[in-house]
Symmetry: C2
Subunit: 409 residues, 2 copies
């Protein structure tokens, strides 16, 4: 089936200009490499939930119930989302104190599609988009795929440095059209933007006339500290903001069910854009989630996850202290979510470390993956979500072995 | 939750240029309207499969088996597609005489995503794209969303008029970058491009250096006539071609599982582009389809569908002869697929007829929806797939009533 070179070449010079900005995900590529190495690799790379906490038996029961609804459970559904899921989600959000109008809600194929839709609608060639540094790889890939021009703003232990934001934008000489941020339990750093920074960020966006894209996959998974108001709550009536959420982290990512909240006029445009992208989100799993919510399983489930993820974070930090305290390494202290960010001494390369770590039997994502400028050569992301404390501790031990084997010290 | 007007307005002037080309689907909008009218509407609008032929009980059994695979069935999967589904699909294709290399195959979120990926990679602002007229609404919406400039080529009872294609391209003054075609049981017309036209189309594409996007959702559903070689088979080694397929029509559309076949270099770029769109197709339903294929259910299932859709087409044509022969109407005679195309006498407006037909209790899609220039004001698409012969005949009777009530005759 491999076509002759001439035909292959026939594609090469016909890519659209934007294709130059379409880059593969380092995380995904790493996953393939990981799987090809050895079977017992400790998986600290992907942001997957704890497998033991995916309610598989309950999902099976609910899937049977959905299938018994008949052929409609396997047919096209409304582009806005399945009616049952929309109703249950709006009810659940209201119970959490978030009143959302039906016309402000769109069900998406994972949270990722919400980011894609916002960028497709708003990011044109050369448009300035603020991103955190480090930040979520697939989001910068999306912005890049629509030819946006990114301004990277450094983060510290409290998330985006908003003073640096003002400076970087001043240096860019033009206000950003869009500010992309993960303010709560950030990916990859695990940091959370404090209230004062949230307010200042919104002030700046208001002054600049910028849109805000608030990416919030993790805020329900807070295990330490007090909840903060979302940017959406703080921006209401002042700054145009779109909030992207997902069930991937609190239920299961393979469902590919997320949701976006925005001004009804924007949601209507997103519905239009969706129809020529994937038509609608898969019906069966929307109804699975609807039944999960209707049976009031979510609160107990999330409570259990919070306890477990705190346990996992603490165990990983204990292992890091045990193994890496003498190595000059430092790491963040997330109050929720899936990730912590490990920084090794200057001069060490986590990209060089990556294959050695795989050989030693542990996977992570090198820091350079989380920045369009390849910053953070000596940092890496560790997910404490997927592996249990014993396995994760073994992973950290293997990581230390790999570091020791690099001959850096 | 409705934001003040100033904030709503804050979005309005920030849309990217491409957003002007993002248009909603008339078919989807119609569906919402249909549902809001009356419950017993005969559904001749949407291209949904026969509900009685969706193997719901078998799906339930297979879903239970997939769920019992454990948490992995609900986790992220490879962007290229679930390994089990890829293996089963490649085996099934080989059994049909189609040898496809693994690196030429991408599992997509419905066939629609394949079209979106091709357009995102290849269609830039102002790029010329050939489309049939009439053609699939969501495909022209996708091309438009990436700012492609379309050349509409008329169809007759044998699909795209390839002489007209040559003329239209000559008139455009530049070769098209991409030719989008549904050569087999076309949507909406139900027509099929004969072999001689297929060969001529490929000759023209080769001469122009054009890519071909072969959209093929229906070819397995042939119920009359002999199978023709696909454009992909005819183009091999001569013209760069991407073929888009789906399980939506032979299994169920709510699964959102399709596949794309292309040169490995193009598939690799599509994988990159996917990661920042929806990450991967939902795992559970990919594995459901894999098990359906592994159990060798597909051939019997498709054989049953062919018999049933032929029965439905013949019943609809009989009803049309009975009700509309005296009205100056004519219609196509598809050898497979879901649709036939009905043309009323000049001067009649199927857009005006649409609300009256809904009031009478039957839904169709007005012809103007299938052309970017709003051609075919007096035509409409009828899906014979979704309703059984008795209901479809009742639908045609209601359609005639609605026509009679327009006072056109």
């Amino acid at each position: 089936m491999s076509a002759p070179d001439a035909v292959t070449a026939g594609f090469h010079d016909r890519y659209a200009t934007r294709a130059a900005g379409i880059v593969g995900s380092v995380i995904d590529a790493s996953t393939s490499i990981i799987q090809s190495r050895r079977n017992d690799v400790v998986r600290l790379a992907m942001g997957s939930p704890a497998a033991d906490f995916v309610p598989v038996a309950l999902f099976e029961e609910l899937l049977v119930a959905v299938a018994r609804e008949g052929a409609g459970a396997f047919d096209y559904g409304p582009t806005e989302g399945d009616e049952a899921l929309r109703a249950e989600l709006l009810r659940d959000l209201a119970a959490r104190g978030e009143e959302v109008s039906p016309s402000s809600l769109l069900i998406t194929t994972g949270g990722m599609q919400g980011i894609d839709l916002v960028c497709k609608l708003f990011v044109g060639p050369g448009d300035l988009v603020v991103v955190e540094s480090p930040t979520y790889t697939n989001a910068t890939a999306t912005i890049s795929s629509y030819e946006g021009r990114m301004i990277e703003v450094p983060c510290d232990a409290d998330g985006m440095d908003v003073d640096a934001l003002a400076e970087r934008v001043a240096a860019a000489g033009a206000p950003p059209k869009l500010i992309y941020t993960i303010p709560t339990f950030q990916n990859p750093s695990g940091t959370t933007l404090p209230l004062a920074r949230r307010e200042r960020l919104i002030d700046l966006a208001e002054r600049w006339g910028s849109l805000i894209l608030e990416d919030d996959p993790y805020s329900w998974l807070r295990f330490e500290g007090d909840a903060l108001p979302s940017l959406r709550a703080l921006a209401a009536g002042r700054v145009p903001l779109i909030a992207v959420h997902t069930f991937s982290k609190v239920l299961a990512p393979g469902l590919r069910v997320g949701w976006t909240i925005a001004d009804p006029a924007v949601i209507a445009r997103m519905v239009d854009a969706r129809q020529s992208m994937d038509t609608c989100t898969n019906t069966l799993q929307q109804r699975l989630v609807a039944r999960f919510l209707a049976a009031r399983h979510l609160d107990d489930h999330v409570t259990g996850l919070r306890v477990e993820y705190r346990r996992r974070k603490l165990a990983m930090q204990a292992a890091l202290r045990e193994e890496l305290a003498g190595h000059g390494a430092r790491w963040t202290d997330p109050g929720g979510g899936f990730f912590l960010w490990l920084t090794l001494p200057d001069g060490m390369s986590t990209s060089a470390l990556f294959p050695a770590a795989l050989d030693a039997g542990v996977a992570f994502v090198p820091g350079a993956a989380f920045s369009i400028s390849g910053a953070f050569p000596n940092a890496l992301r560790l997910a404490f979500s997927a592996e249990d404390p014993a396995r994760a501790s073994e992973g950290v031990r293997r990581l230390r072995q790999a570091i020791d084997g690099m001959g850096w010290s």
